[in-house]
Symmetry: C2
Subunit: 181 residues, 2 copies
């Protein structure tokens, strides 16, 4: 929660600025408006031969559960560069980033999860600081009961389905607190 | 620029937190880390018959230039809901939101521009507070020399090209400071 102005240190108020239609944290001293916006989490479905790269999380939330490499996009990078960086950082593998594969809005936590397809040049990987373990998994080896997030489950299902069909589409989805809509 | 902690009001320092690899604005008093992330601008290529909905901007930047309805995504909404809201707010028209059409990363300003296709039920519109004028334009009427942003130009070009081909694809692009890459 924003309580103090990041520009001048004064206590902020929560009110709708003139010309706006939503309340914001506004500084009554210097006038600065503190906008808060959804964050993009970008990741990669990186494959080598018929296997998918998964990471066991070393950090909360969902410590110990399996995830696709993904994380908060940083200022100054493109979405594809973020997907590559996260795969490098979490899984020690450098994917050739392909097309965007899935975009999932999660309004109740103000996040958008964006996943790219990626191809690895070889079967090498190494767990990064945020991973307890990393592995390349065949379809029948995926730990479905130990996946970290609903968006990871969604991506893996859609990916395997598209792979069977021999054609990868771009998938858009919205997750509500209690299901998809 | 962040100079004061939004949680406790103390002066922040700019340093790399333990376990991180980028410098952040960190509060030495309460420990709060002020992450800054790219922002999503979401808009709509809304059409009625063979015409495209364009708005003449009433606000800076690019006041007086023509744009597709678009704006900063708000917390608590989906990307498609943001596209619909912006079209309602800026152009007084309620589109049936279709598939995502284009996603453009602009790393040097830490923005991602995302545009949906949208269909209008009729030819009605009304300029909102952020628009000087709104109109439905045929291809030959588009004011190419008076467009507001490069992403708008990109979307209109790709849209018209796809329409001629009879098939709409999802377009991904990265804009650098001096061109596309």
């Amino acid at each position: 929660m924003i309580q103090f102005c990041s520009h001048c240190g004064h206590t902020v108020v929560f009110e709708t600025p003139p010309g706006d239609n939503l309340p914001r944290h506004v500084c009554p001293a210097c006038g600065h408006i503190h906008y808060e916006n959804p964050r993009l989490i970008v990741g990669c479905i990186a494959t080598w031969e018929d296997r998918i790269l998964l990471c066991k999380r070393a950090i909360e939330p969902r410590l110990g559960y399996w995830t696709l490499p993904a994380g908060f996009m940083e200022n100054g990078e493109s979405t594809a560069a973020a997907a590559r960086r996260e795969t490098l950082e979490e899984a020690g593998a450098d994917p050739l980033i392909g097309p965007p594969f899935a975009m999932i809005s999660i309004p109740h936590i103000s996040q958008i999860h964006l996943f790219y397809l990626g191809q690895l040049a070889n079967g090498e990987y190494a767990a990064g600081e945020e991973s307890l373990a990393v592995g390349l998994y065949r379809e029948e080896e995926i730990p479905w009961q130990e996946l970290s997030f609903r968006s990871v489950h969604f991506c893996l299902e859609r990916f395997l389905d598209d792979r069977r069909k021999g054609h990868y589409q771009f998938h858009e989805q919205v997750f509500g607190p209690d299901g998809c809509y």
